[in-house]
């Protein structure tokens, strides 16, 4: 019973963070802030949702599989975000602050 | 209302199929045409799987306490079709690469023009 309540709270929180990540993806002004928003869904939302799901199992093989999925996602998703941001940087994309800086430089 | 619940799945599949069909016949770029073919193909897969679904059924893997299973036959047909589909898509893409080599373009009207010159 208590487990169920905790798991529900975790699942709702996970859904909330997924939603904020999605809103951020649409509303944020430039690429890097958007990657930041998307990686929120990758990390915290995954942890919350999968932990919530583990609490709902009978702690058998299913729970172990979920744990493996969690470990795997925690390894790969941040790497994907990192690689994305790094290759954007490599390709010459500037952050918002840097764009402002360079504009100021032009005006002077 | 039950009419819509009974058929909405098929209608959306038809919509997807027509979207793929439209891309195939209207796109000029060969890569996009292949994407369109793939969308068409996936919609056919979905049609088969929809036919195999039994309401209240479970995945066709024997487990305790489950009496109703979905139809395994469409799953088998589509499982192999997906792998064959990607293999044939690869042949299509390889042809596109060769066309690019030979004509320097993958836009349909452009290499047809070049063909007309020869």
């Amino acid at each position: 019973m208590i487990l169920e309540v905790i798991s529900t709270i975790l699942l709702i929180l996970g859904a909330f963070f997924s939603l904020t990540g999605a809103i951020g993806l649409f509303r944020f002004p430039d690429f890097f802030t958007r990657v930041h928003a998307a990686s929120v869904t990758d990390s915290i939302a995954t942890i919350l949702i999968i932990t919530g799901l583990i609490l709902r199992t009978d702690f058998d093989l299913v729970a172990v599989k979920l744990l493996f999925i969690l470990i795997f996602l925690l390894l790969t998703s941040p790497t994907a975000s990192h690689a994305l941001a790094k290759s954007a940087r490599h390709g010459g994309l500037l952050t918002l602050a840097e764009i402002r800086e360079s504009k100021k430089g032009d005006n002077d | 209302m039950s009419f819509i619940v009974d058929y909405y799945n098929y209608w959306i599949v038809v919509f997807l199929m027509m979207a793929g069909f439209y891309i195939v016949i209207s796109a000029n770029n060969l890569v996009k045409k292949i994407v369109g073919l793939n969308i068409f193909q996936t919609s056919v897969f979905m049609m088969y799987i929809s036919i195999g679904k039994v309401q209240g059924g479970s995945a066709p893997i024997v487990a305790d306490g489950i009496t109703s299973y979905s139809n395994p036959l469409p799953h088998v047909l589509i499982l192999t079709a997906i792998v064959v589909g990607v293999a044939t898509t690869a042949v299509g893409l390889a042809l596109v690469v060769r066309i690019k080599r030979a004509y320097g373009t993958v836009e349909e009207n452009e290499f047809e023009d070049k063909d007309a010159l020869i």
Binding site: - | F21, G56, V62, L73, V84, V86, T89, V91, L93
Partner: protein, 325 residues
């Protein structure tokens, strides 16, 4: 509730397909296509087709997307604006769609247990296959035993497609000089790839040999194992990957898989059964079925692995050649 999830996913699919029509940036088109595959995999799970969903997620979203990106690298990522009118195609599509929708009205309602599709062979598979074959996963039983002949054909098609791609594009020469793949500086990526690749191969083996009991089997396992080597080639460069898995070795493997499959059929011939009748492989028919299924699934896995990786090598070799020029 299930219907609601289904409807939301189908709606997202429709939006994705519409977006693909209007986008001119082919890179985005290919990415949307990957998304489309993932969404359809989710729908397959929702419609109880777990094996199919597994295959679609591995093949559609994994291998297809990589191959399409490889093609884009060679052909350019922008679609040129075409100026002829799209009225005629639209008309054709609307008429065909209307005819098909009219046709669906005669179809049996979705998901009804009394539908004709569930009346003929399916009940036999569902009731008898656990006893006759002794495997919990009916999809594997049907795929590898009842419809083994069909699956042999499909495996041969995959093999033939690989030959087609290789004769069009050619294999990379093994042991070429490693040119900078552009990922040399991605330290994080390299470390994580080193962690992930062994796990992926282990998972492929699990899927290969656990396919009798849960979702999985040779097709999925072959694709996952190929994906592991593709990841290696993407991160560490093609020359290193061709050192690990040599192109000539792949050619042998691809043929070997089909041979193992057909050889099992011929063996059952000589033991007095029909082609691909596994009952005669052991004194107990159920054990014979089990042996036969494991062997031919292994054959499928080998062929699919070699075919997928060979196809990738073909595209990668072309890209490498263009880079050098």
């Amino acid at each position: 509730m299930v219907e609601l999830i289904d409807l939301v996913l189908l709606g997202m699919l429709a939006i994705t397909a519409l977006r693909v029509i209007f986008l001119k940036d082919l890179f985005a088109v290919v990415m949307l296509f990957g998304l489309y595959s993932f969404l359809s995999a989710l729908i397959f799970v929702n419609l109880d087709a777990v094996d199919v969903a597994f295959t679609e997620a591995a093949v559609g979203a994994g291998i297809s997307t990589v191959l399409m990106l490889g093609t884009l690298a060679l052909t350019g990522r922008k679609e040129k604006a075409n100026n002829h009118t799209a009225l005629l195609p639209l008309l054709v599509v609307i008429i065909t769609g209307a005819a098909l929708i009219y046709g669906t009205l005669d179809m049996p309602p979705f998901g009804h247990p009394d539908n004709p599709a569930h009346q003929h062979v399916a009940p036999r598979y569902i009731e008898e296959s656990p006893k006759e074959i002794g495997l919990p996963n009916m999809v594997t039983s049907v795929l590898a035993s009842y419809r083994a002949f069909d699956t042999l054909g499909e495996t041969a098609v995959v093999f033939a497609a690989a030959i087609g791609v290789l004769s069009l594009l050619g294999m990379p020469k093994p042991g070429g000089v490693a040119i900078d793949s552009g990922l040399k500086s991605h330290l994080v990526l390299r470390v994580v790839a080193k962690l992930v690749i062994p796990m992926t191969i282990l998972f492929a083996l699990y899927v290969q040999f656990h396919g009798d009991y849960g979702p999985g089997g040779g097709f999925q396992a072959g694709v996952i194992a190929a994906a592991a080597v593709i990841l290696y080639a993407l991160v560490f460069g093609l020359p290193l990957a061709t050192h690990v898995v040599r192109p000539n070795f792949l050619k042998v493997l691809a043929a070997l898989g089909v041979l193992i499959y057909a050889g099992t059929g011929v063996t059952s011939f000589f033991l007095g059964g029909n082609f691909l009748d596994y009952n005669v492989l052991a004194s107990d028919p159920v054990v014979g079925q089990h042996i036969g299924i494991i062997v031919i699934e292994f054959g499928i896995g080998i062929t699919v692995f070699a075919a997928m990786l060979g196809i990738f090598y073909g595209f990668a070799a072309q890209a490498e050649r263009t880079n050098i020029q």
